[in-house]
Symmetry: C2
Subunit: 236 residues, 2 copies
DNA sequence: GAAGTATTTTTGACTAATCAAAATGCTGGT
DNA sequence: ACCAGCATTTTGATTAGTCAAAAATACTTC
């Protein structure tokens, strides 16, 4: 029995929700899941219980939910479809990076594995989507990307932006307008906990100050990390 | 309220079913509709009644169903999505023409108008899909294609195949293997009602005899018709 | 540790879409 | 004109997914 798009959405939400969990507690609370899916809490509970029956999740009442191995693979493949489609829309169909999310949200449930693989091939088996989010391979495996956020990277050291973790259109526009898209090279000059902000020097000595909430969504590679990564690639 | 993919499927089936009706009675019987959708007859009746409530179809109990103007436009746009996607899969994604139907069947409910238009543009605003089926424009309008089948075209006169009306994989393979795809030039040499067959001379003087059932699904342009069509195009 | 708040689960009900099978209506042939 | 046979509609039931609101549980705070 192949999963309905509703089931796919639940699995994806759990997959992404657990990954985004601050505590490594690794059990996603029902409230958070319901919220992510835009559904009433009771609905999430009911659905999660049936998902548990089919062995896709492990459910601990009053505590939360996590994916089983089977559920995780399924979820990763949904995420893979989503991200390959996003990149395809940008690279081949000429979409802007802030426009692809909704379209991909629909397509991820409609494209066949075959079509996704064709897109993937056409794009040269990319590792990340337009936001820098990693694309799981055909087995659902992600090669881990060591990354720090603007809150943790070293000060006054050139770093390369690799990922922007947010799908909100206006945030993505903001990022783009200030040349903070993945690939750009910048330096963090200062962090000020009092003003809850981070000062960044970007392209052409353009300075910009952003809040820590926003800063935490911008991930970077340090030159050192980049070197290690390169090492890995060349030795493989 | 935007139509569910079930509603879209009903509208499409009525649209295509009415068009394929032999009698110009133009009212599609419930049985035929149910069969086209692979659904029990009672299910079709129920659904059609609710479609009638929302003004998308006209329903005559015990007689059949037809689309209203609103329903027809919606249906045409679904068909447009389907056919643009089919052509896109063949031209851009490298699919074979006998492989596209099922994929398009899914995608037609997931692609946005925006994406379809982007594909359409990329393909150069084509008039027909890989099977020669006409593609409705953004308004749902089809420019009528004058065409005859292998059963009605003149004998021993070169004609060009323009359309193959069947989605069955094995039939399409057969057509392809015998060089009877849209674009090929052939002549009908003989029709024999006793053996219920048609003899065709194709490429490289390759002869082939096919049944009338199959022959009726292969549409052609006569040179005269092609000339008239050219006239229309150049004068426009 | 008791009280109040927040989260989670239960309950009862609803909608869309479907089926099988019984009931109904239509039509053609003698 | 009648009846047999076929197509169509009704009926009653089912499944997936959802909500609102009531009940239960867990967490916090004093």
């Amino acid at each position: 029995m192949l999963p309905s798009s509703t089931v796919e959405n639940y699995l994806k939400a759990i997959y992404l929700g657990v990954a985004a969990l601050t505590k490594p507690h690794r059990l996603l609370p029902m409230g958070q899941l319901a919220c992510a899916l835009g559904v009433a809490p009771g609905t999430a509970t009911t659905m999660v219980k049936t998902l548990a029956e089919s062995g896709l999740v492990e459910y601990e009442p009053y505590t939360g939910v996590a994916l089983t191995e089977a559920g995780e693979k399924l979820a990763a493949l949904v995420v893979r479809r989503h991200r390959v489609v996003e990149l395809f829309l940008v690279q081949v169909m000429g979409y802007r990076w802030d426009e692809v999310h909704d379209e991909a949200e629909q397509l991820e449930h409609a494209v066949s594995d075959r079509l996704v693989d064709r897109m993937d091939e056409m794009l040269g088996r990319p590792a990340v989507d337009p936001h820098g989010d990693p694309i799981p391979d055909q087995e659902g495996v992600i090669t881990p990307q060591p990354a720090q956020s603007l809150l943790t990277c070293p000060l006054n050291t050139p770093v390369t932006i690799t990922r922007v973790i947010d799908q909100d259109k206006s945030f993505l526009r903001f990022i783009e307008n200030h040349h903070l898209k993945p690939g750009e090279s910048i330096e963090v000059e200062d962090r000020d906990s009092a003003s809850d902000s981070v000062r960044v020097r970007g392209k052409d000595d353009h300075h910009i100050t952003i809040g820590t909430r926003a800063a935490s969504k911008v991930l970077v590679h340090t030159p050192a990390a980049a070197a290690i990564l390169l090492e890995l690639v060349t030795s493989a």
